[in-house]
Amino acid sequence: MVMQLIKKIRGCITLILAVLMFAPLIAHADYSWNFPKPATPMALDTLQVHNKFMIIVMVIFVVVLGIMIYSIVMHRKSKNHPAGTFTGPTTRSQIIWTLVPFVILLYIDFILMGIPAYHSVVAMEDTKTGAEMVIKITGSQWRWQYEYMDGDAKGISFVSNLITPQDQIDNKATKNKEYLLEVDNPLVLPTGKKVRVLLTSTDVIHNWWVPAFGAARDAVPGFLRETWLKIDEPGTFRGQCKELCGKGHGFMPAVVVAKNEDDFKQWAVAKKQEIAAAGAGADKTWTQAELIANGKAVYEKNCVACHQVTGMGLPPTFPALAGSKIATGPIFDADGKLIKDGHLDRVFNGKGVMPAWKSILNDTEIASVITYERNSFGNHVGDMLQPAQVKALR
């Protein structure tokens, strides 16, 4: 009875496994077996190093496995193979046979793999020689900020957020092709130029990684780390944070658009104009309705991950805004000075897990989002904050 049952179970499992192995292969062809197509010299080098090492270890594996299988098949009791009694190499030829694999491995480790590895490391760490532009990347929970430090785009600075709608993540809507790898403001870089990348973070350790670039470096809070890129061809390259950085770790993509020299210059001019136009909003007087409408958009882009759509937050780490003392308390004291730990001060300078938004959002965005927060989620403060007031306090 038991035997039959086991046989049946075994049959079923074999069948299931066979179906499992082949069904998805037939249904889709979207399989990737190796690194993505390299887009930089460093990625090409990494791919070549990787391919070479993979071949070496596979040869080692197959040879050793072959010897084992030969032994397993031939040296069996059921084949009446007599058991040997040797416990170590005794003759000279046996000693040589013992040393040969050791020497081969020594050669593989420190010559065949070791020497190319040395050159790769030196090239990977040489961020300065011939660098034509510098870009600073700052990781925050859970977005990247890009700053252009020199060249045509000097002074441009913006934040890059995930734009995949929550409905798609919650399986309520069909997923986009670039699900989880799409952002509002991609990093734009020129092709053919060596770009020195400086990395840091405002909160925890992140890691800015685009697989097609073959470079990954941690963004460590309070320190600058560096790496470099030189993108060969125009195109869009997608990657994501690869150091666990909290609950939004899987929702922090890094997208780079590479343009040729001329297109990059045009983009830089247009981006500067766009930023100037957004800043100009600070000089006009807004109505409360306008501020709330604009603030809702800013909130949904930058604040929902922690404070949630409902404003209820995720206590104790991420406090609620609904009914919050800070979000419903005064912003300025009687003399019109900024109140420490008041609503604007907290948004400006952050505290603990809350990032400092002063350098990330412009005056209009800060004024709008604060006005929105004071008049939503059941908060009815009724006042508003004008972008000009924010500008005056910078």
Partner: protein
């Protein structure tokens, strides 16, 4: 009142029965049994957690859980599997088998031994309690930083981190006590004539493990204590704003964490050659070479730690040093592989379940070792690091190399421990299901990693969907196969064909000269080794 003494002529005093027997026992076999039972229980709990994770990863999108809960599951899964499943399993074997193998009546420090075990259940409760507390609105769940506690994420975390810090302290104390006991036992309690170079390899593996534990656990304890003071008492060890450095935590953690890998594996490397030799009916090949290799690996393991965070940013000379020293570990490890294969070479092999696990273990652990060699390369590591490639790699070393090795040991010694034979057919089915579903789970993860899927993400881009689905289905099969394992052990404990003293045709060593099961007190007269 003399119940014990009446039935066992070799008992010199009565001992309590029922629950008090287990709470107060100082008998190495009782304590060994408790360690192994605890380990198996926690293995199933840790496994259940990762089943939930694989279910969430079955498809893109968030189906079953929020990301914060996902992060808790992966971290606690790792902590449980490492500290509460693998380490106690090895300690359980040490308790059961070391005295039998070296001809000692018991462990040298029996009270310490009892205490060492009873520290474990409270630690396991501390690790998992925050899940339950969160259900009642206390705190926000268990530690969500992964098992590595990296600052500043762990400084930011909730009370789960504090619980985990306390748990690690307790587990550490337990490990250090167990290690002291094993060192003292091996140095002082060997039977006359058993010189160090006649010591069974299992004892050698454990001796080196014990020294590694004593050397590195205090460093981990220090690191998590600094973390605790950063969290609550205003220090800035890991905060640049106060003059600290987050990367210092990684150095301290991995100074413990890398030797920890060998702590988990060295006991297994010890008893696998004994299994191979038993079923090949041939003496162990290259005993001395294996002893020296084990020692060398132990020493090298404490000088290579920084290869776990090559991408954190280090000076070029440091990168090169850690790369070449890591590659150097492949040399003594290759000697071990050579000796294992030479042990079965020209043998007269049969393939009972322990042998199947041992041979499968060599092959699968080989994949773990070879991918480790590739990971040592700094340039390629920038790409592999923190992707599923690494996840697959360390499951080949720790599941195949660790847990499947432990399973070989369980089947090998179970008849000796219980006096009954386990169900051989069921054991073989368990092996094949485990080996096949394990490979189907983790081979796709190698490809996921190469294609660019980071680890520790609760949701992923559409390009990773197919491989994740295969991996999840295979993982469920792997999980189910372990139910067979538990069933087989339970039925074997409760009854079955009587095991002979020698159990296996080719077995040799002191433990096989004793009855199966061995009497409660063994070696009232010390055996003499010639």
């Amino acid at each position: 009142m003399s119940y014990g003494a009446a039935t066992h002529h070799d008992d010199h005093q009565e001992h309590p029965t029922g629950i008090m027997r287990w709470l107060t026992t100082t008998n190495h076999k009782d304590i060994g049994t408790m360690y192994l039972t605890f380990s198996l229980t926690m293995f199933m709990i840790g496994g259940a957690m990762i089943m939930a994770v694989r279910a969430e990863l079955f498809q893109p999108g968030l189906q079953l859980m929020r990301p914060e809960f996902y992060n808790q599951l992966i971290g606690v899964h790792a902590l449980i599997m490492i500290f509460a499943a693998l380490m106690p399993a090895a300690t359980g074997f040490a308790n059961w088998m070391l005295p039998l193998q070296i001809g000692a009546p018991d462990m040298a420090l029996p009270r310490l031994n009892n205490w060492g075990f009873w520290l474990l259940p409270p630690a396991a409760i501390l690790l998992t309690l925050p899940f339950t507390l969160a259900l009642f609105g206390i705190g926000d769940g268990a530690i969500a930083t992964g098992w590595t506690f990296y600052a500043p994420l762990s400084v930011q975390g909730g009370i789960g981190v504090d619980f985990a810090i306390f748990a690690v302290h307790i587990l550490g104390i337990s490990s250090v006590m167990g290690s002291i006991n094993i060192i003292v036992t091996i140095f002082n309690m060997r039977a006359p004539g058993m010189t160090m170079m006649k010591l069974p390899l299992f004892a050698w593996g454990w001796l080196i493990t014990a020294f590694l534990l004593i050397a590195t656990i205090p460093v981990l304890a220090g690191a998590v204590t600094m973390l605790l003071t950063d969290r609550h008492f205003g220090t800035h060890f890991f905060d640049a704003a106060g003059g600290g450095d987050p990367i210092m935590f990684q150095h301290l953690f991995w100074f413990f964490g890398h030797p920890e890998v060998y702590i988990l594996l060295l006991p297994v490397w010890g008893f696998i050659p004994q299994i191979l030799s038993t079923f090949a009916r041939k003496p162990i090949y290259g005993y001395k070479a294996q002893v020296y290799s084990l020692c060398l690996i132990g020493i090298l393991s404490v000088v290579v730690w920084a290869h776990h965070f090559f991408t954190a940013g280090m000076p070029v000379p440091a990168l090169l040093y850690f790369m070449y020293s890591t590659m150097a570990i492949s040399l003594p490890l290759a000697v071990l592989f050579y000796c294992w294969i030479a042990t079965i070479w020209k043998g007269s092999m049969t393939f009972e379940t322990p042998m199947l696990f041992a041979v499968g273990w060599i092959i699968l652990f080989g994949i773990g070792g070879l991918t480790g060699l590739v990971l040592a390369d700094v340039a390629a590591d920038a790409q592999y690091h923190h992707t599923y490639f690494v996840v697959a790699h360390f499951h080949y070393t720790l599941f195949a190399g660790g847990i499947m090795g432990i399973m070989a040991g369980v089947y090998y010694w179970l008849p000796k421990m219980t006096g009954h034979m386990y169900n051989e057919r069921l054991g073989k089915v368990h092996f094949w299901l485990t080996a096949i579903s394990f490979n189907l789970t983790f081979i796709p993860q190698f490809f996921l990693g190469l294609a660019g899927m980071p680890r520790r993400i609760p949701d992923y881009a559409l390009q990773f969907a197919e491989f994740n689905m295969i991996s999840s289905i295979a993982a469920f099969a792997l999980g189910l196969a372990q139910v067979l394992f538990v069933y087989n052990i339970i039925t074997c404990v409760r009854g079955g064909k009587k095991a002979t003293d020698k159990v296996w045709e080719g077995s040799n060593g002191l433990e096989w000269t004793l009855p199966s099961p061995p009497p409660y007190h063994t070696f009232n007269e010390q055996p003499v080794i010639k």
